[in-house]
Amino acid sequence: MREKVPRQDARERIKNFLEVALGYSTEQAQKEASRCLQCKEKPCVKGCPVEIDIPAFIKLLKEGKRKEALEKIKEKNNLPAVCGRVCPQEDQCEAVCVLNKKKIPINIGALERYAADYELVRSSELGARSKNIKSNSAKVAVVGSGPAGLTCAADLAKMGYQVTLFESLHIAGGVLVYGIPEFRLPKEIVSNEITYIHSLGVNIETNTLIGRTFTLEELFLQGFKAIFLAVGAGLPQFLGIPGENLSRVYSANEFLARVNLMKANKFPEYATPLSIGETIAVIGGGNVALDCARVSSRLGKVVTLVYRRTEVEMPARAEEVRNAKEEEIIFQFLTQPVKILGDEKGFVKGLECIKMVLGEPDESGRRRPVPVEDSNFVLDVDTVIVAIGQSPNPLLSKVTAGLKTNKDSTVAVDENFMTSIKGVFAGGDIITGADTVISAMGAAKRAARAIDAYIR
């Protein structure tokens, strides 16, 4: 049997922002590790976007060598405590595990997390690692400190480059700090991972918006030999329906940034306010929508998740959907908002929706939702959070002459991740549109190799 990961009880956890999954004990980790067949073909390694030698680290865990296991993981993955928590392993490494035939794949994510959390207790042992950096080596600028930027910066530092990581917000981490809530990814874990990357010799400059504070041209003038753009897909999409600019209509990004980054849930101890009512509609079916819903339930609100398809088509992780259900989130499937209703003061007082049925499959392969005529009804809510996706951040491409973008506003790159500007590379959500943490990291690793080849 697969070793179960202990979790906080649902009735308790909706009263706090502490982590839901509690992680393996040493005994549990060793028990789970001993289920690994150590097979020769290692399909799990190919299933991992950053190609961690999974059987090797699991073997070390089985032998009780937690530190060595972590070092094995860090050969390939610079953010294991993050990935062990937020990767959709069921679609990646665990999906191709040979034990999956019996539907009980190794819990690779929980084991990676167990290994990574070693550093939380003994960070000093794995201290300064900046010995590789040569002061005469080339300077590389990495723009954006989300998963892609952190990964590329760390890999380049390990290769001996002098790396400066530029971040526009006041805290580094990108979506790991402003997007993913504390109960899925504690901010202490993120700051620990960033401390590790800093210890590799990466210089981190926060409060710097590239395109405004410095242009790309100015970075080259400052002596950077190459630039890696990893500014993500941070532009929130809206529905384009009437009433969307009423007070208490938030984009998921604004809502999550206020709570996760600015700690508005601790207002007025923290100065950033959040104005929400008692009944909240979250629109969307992805992980971001679930994050918004689950944050809202922790703020003591009644939450309805409004999704235009059915549970089967939801892009969110199955585990998070299960968590959300346990946390008493109401799911309103096959429902499309058509209008947000406001009161005389301009605040939300309801969400008018229309019922949908599933029709033929669309380009994404999922069955297209079709409205049912005259099925309009009003959801009685006083706050609306729109979580229907993000597009690539257009700021940099708007202010940078010669930086080519595709029709969907992603930045165009060649097979070596180089953009239309020589020496400027890009990776992560800015070239793919919104995707997972781990796929951004995978692209960033390959881009780091391409940048190394370019500078040589």
């Binding site: 526009s168 926060t206 710097t208 405004r212 532009l235 929130p236 940034a257 207002f267 007025p268 104005s275």
Partner: protein
């Protein structure tokens, strides 16, 4: 950390802070702004760049003490620091030589109209300045505006200084003179910044004359880098983000009612924070 060099009271409840920020000073242009976070518990607030010195590496911000954060900002001592400063942000005001420009500032908005007026003047335009304040004690930067404007009008709501009335009263009179004269002409551009009702009134006034009018909008912001949409406004029927698409917009296209309503979103919470500060 960014060191505060000076903190002066410019007028009643209006504070002027000078901060050591060479990187921002080097890039600053008229019409741009910064985001300030006072301390690690602080919120992110946008403030216009009122002035800067590229050589000495400092920037000047002017804030009206209207709430929790601006009150705290006002009581910062020279030598203390603000935790975070991001900028310069937003599109610079489009400055070119076009003839005569009316630069209109209301209240603390004069802090921004000053660098914009100066830039228009330096670009070779004739600049008519119109400043408005609720009362004499709230008027700022008169001398600075006097130095760069070809002509300057000062209005107070209560008539305690300059002339009694609104900025649009001056515009009406100037336009009446122009109408009767063969020598003078309507301005090529009107630039206005101040409280929303003032910007709206200016926009409505110039609309009939079809005079290009630019306003600098002041919606609520969080990141101010285009990431959250808190600052979204409707301009020409489309949703725009004040922080990255602006802050300058065509005044005749702006939905001022919506902006007014959205600015009230956090009023209740702002009161709570303010009470905490007073207590």
């Amino acid at each position: 950390m960014f060191k505060v060099l000076r903190n002066e009271e410019l007028a009643q409840e209006v504070t002027q802070i000078t901060i050591d920020a060479p990187v921002i000073a080097a890039k600053a242009q008229a019409g741009q702004f910064v985001v300030v976070i006072l301390d690690e518990q602080g919120e992110r607030i946008p403030l216009t760049l009122a002035d800067w010195d590229k050589e000495k590496g400092f920037i000047t911000l002017i804030a009206q003490k209207v709430g929790f954060t601006t009150q705290k900002l006002g009581s910062i001592h020279p030598g203390d620091s603000v935790a975070h400063l991001l900028g310069p942000l937003g599109h610079p005001t489009e400055i070119k030589k076009i003839g005569e420009v009316y630069c209109i500032g209301g209240g603390v908005g004069i802090a921004e109209v000053y660098p914009v007026s100066r830039a228009f003047k330096q670009a070779g335009n004739r600049v008519t300045g119109i400043m408005g304040a609720r009362t004499k004690n709230l008027l700022i930067l008169e001398k600075e505006m006097q130095n760069i404007c070809d002509e300057l009008f000062i209005m107070t709501d209560d008539g305690t200084y300059g002339r009694k009335g609104l900025v649009t009263d001056v515009m009406r009179e100037l336009f009446e003179v122009i109408e009767k004269s063969t020598q003078t002409k309507y301005p090529a551009l009107v630039y206005a910044i101040g409280p929303v009702p003032m910007m709206k009134a200016v926009a409505e006034f110039t609309r009939d004359f079809k005079i290009k009018t630019i306003v600098s909008l002041n919606p609520i912001m969080v990141d101010a880098t285009g990431m959250c949409g808190s600052c979204r406004c409707t301009v020409g029927g489309k949703t725009v983000f004040g922080c990255v698409d602006g802050p300058d917009f065509d005044a005749h296209q702006v939905d001022f009612e919506e902006l007014t309503q959205r600015l009230k979103t956090f009023r209740h919470e702002e009161d709570i924070a303010h009470e905490k500060l007073v207590a």
